[in-house]
Symmetry: C2
Amino acid sequence: MTAALEMTRLGYACTLLEARGSAGGRVLTLRAGDVVNEVDSSQSCQFDFDEDLYFNAGPSRIAQHHESLLGYCREFGVKLEAFTNDNRGAWLHSPGAFDGQPQVARRLLADTRGGIAELLSTAINQDALDQALTEADKANILAMLRQFGDLDINNSYSGTPRAGFPGQENVGGRQRGELLPARRLQDLVTEFFWELRLSFSQGFDQQPVMLQPAGGMDRIARAFESRVVDDIVFEAEVTEVRKTADGTRVIYEDRSGTSSTLEADYCIVTIPAPVLAGIANDFSAAHQAEIAGFQYSSAVRVAFQAPRFWEREHNIYGGITWTDQDITQIWYPNHGFQRETGILVGAYIFDGAAGNRFTDMPPATRIDTTTAQASNVHPQIRDQASNGISVAWKKMPFQRGGWGMSNPSVLLTADDSIVFAGEHLSILPGWQEGAILSAYSAIDQIVDRDRGA
Amino acid sequence: MTAALEMTRLGYACTLLEARGSAGGRVLTLRAGDVVNEVDSSQSCQFDFDEDLYFNAGPSRIAQHHESLLGYCREFGVKLEAFTNDNRGAWLHSPGAFDGQPQVARRLLADTRGGIAELLSTAINQDALDQALTEADKANILAMLRQFGDLDINNSYSGTPRAGFPGQENVGGRQRGELLPARRLQDLVTEFFWELRLSFSQGFDQQPVMLQPAGGMDRIARAFESRVVDDIVFEAEVTEVRKTADGTRVIYEDRSGTSSTLEADYCIVTIPAPVLAGIANDFSAAHQAEIAGFQYSSAVRVAFQAPRFWEREHNIYGGITWTDQDITQIWYPNHGFQRETGILVGAYIFDGAAGNRFTDMPPATRIDTTTAQASNVHPQIRDQASNGISVAWKKMPFQRGGWGMSNPSVLLTADDSIVFAGEHLSILPGWQEGAILSAYSAIDQIVDRDRGA
């Protein structure tokens, strides 16, 4: 849709062939009554009808520097609100650590910073780093480390209010007497799991502030769609992409199986590689080979409707809890705070063996498995979560994968008059910003060629 | 209002004497047409009329574990949204560092973590910490530090995507080739200023997720007020607080100077100490002495209306920029993203010499000074910011200070039938949650006495 919108603005006549009844690809926001048809199953979304009860099964967050996407939000008037990755009140859980008791993020983070700062202070005070540091450097760094780790005046770490207070790690703080005992760094790092998760929100594309459209991620796709809708042929499943003497020819079928043909000077192919690999084409052998070998993530998401026990009982307002079980992440809604119910993402599995295991399950088994694992973190889920629904992207028709995980090469260049685009061909795979940047690149290839020819 | 609400629920008949025309104390949200009358000046708020154009001149954020306050928000139906302290796209600025060029937080944070992790790795690899760490500890910690600082496989830090990309530290990332050069920790810490600010959002009460009421902080105070309004006497300026044989007597004046008298079994005094010190009373010498000596912050805030250049030109969506000038902080609005204009807090000064300097200025001088200093960070402010307004809490009638900065002692105990309450007498001075907890404590004192008597 980005390519069509911008090429139309440049004076090109565009036609979009969309296999489904609405455009937006993997942007999928599920609400009451929506149907999820995977290749071998069908689910109906049973959430209550309510504007806050939606489930972003695909992209769910926007980095504040994804300025192309955000520029369209501004232009289209899509209302934005904050999305949280790093909630210090959310939890980390590993069945094998701390007797399986979830740990509040603030405590693990505070102890990690404290331990690192104390150890480095010890080394500096033992003159172990005198080759690298002057006396002035050492004094400056020791002072900095006291702030960094909340150390005492002797640069020792013996706990900090940053961790919360005993018995109140997660439920407020009416009493603030003694500190929680400091955990030694060497004991924390036996669970390497923790630090991996604690560093997640340091990533350039995951740092605060993250944003989300109010009302669901598909607000952006719908805004795009409304601007190019006259050029879209819906329920047009492409069956062939051909080269002609002076351009391209695409054959597509409507729902009844009736074929149509579209000829054009150029064709921008944004079909995900796993789907494209099964479509008859005239691509070069090198393009075909890269398409055939392109790997995609096995992303799976499972969501429930539930009363907001995480807010009422645990003071968790948005953000992500991590668990070292297959379900990987639990997401709390970042909107509709303090309403009676909300949509809880009970599992967000990115890829790998766990993703494949969940993809292979029938939807009911995914729900049961998620309920069982998520209940190890929040026992309330067993009785209170309902209306579960799941999306396994490798089983979604016309998508057949979460996002591209191969490094593109040949597909970044045109194949005669055929140009390729999509998140998988961008520097930001898996992000809507990536899909837009890739569209810009496809446009550049066509415009440059028309200017140069 | 908390005490009145809860004591009424317990069966007590309560009367609130409120010096102003509306209740809420230092909860002050300014909108178009509002007037700020300090003791020696008057300002009128010139913002455009718009629901998103408001300025919280007092409390502005709520920690997600401030569960008493949040409980009232839930009960009252006050809609909440996220508030950001830690925006990695916001800036840090010191006139004396980096030629006065603001630095994007993400880069300073990434280099700080990288430098700490590399130095500690070096010390560990030189066996400097072998007294404290086993070989297994060392291997675990080295692996953790690679994640923590984004080090290479040799535990060296040579830059990271977490810092942003050259020329694109703050404006997105269409090109992601080479990394920004890594800055050495010993060079960063010559500006101790940085780390102080970088650790701010680690604090228990400042960690993510922070919350704010949609539409302005006074939504909470207004909700309280509507529930106790029948018991409030507005524009009732207390002139005397007396003890009687079996209770208390309060004398107050209305706007015309007419005196009234109220007798009650108990009196809960929530008047800020600097104001209370000037009211005739029968308090014990110890209570009087603590009131007379109670120190308050010299908090000052200055706000402007401005087109949202911070979003459009710098991809900053909410959060705080720090500067080592008197103005201390610049706050970007955490709501109304991508609207044409917003309210920018151009200065938030907590206390100390800078707070006193700004308090002593006439409002127009505060605006000019803030414009000059804030323009060193964002030059756009000079031409684009307008409709400036300021609040210096030490000059606000009936308040005369930001928040309590002394440790309470005698005031935590009743003086016969007179009980004291307020944020300054809580474990959370400066926070609305603290005022509520203090009210609970005052209620406990009265109820315990009635039960025990």
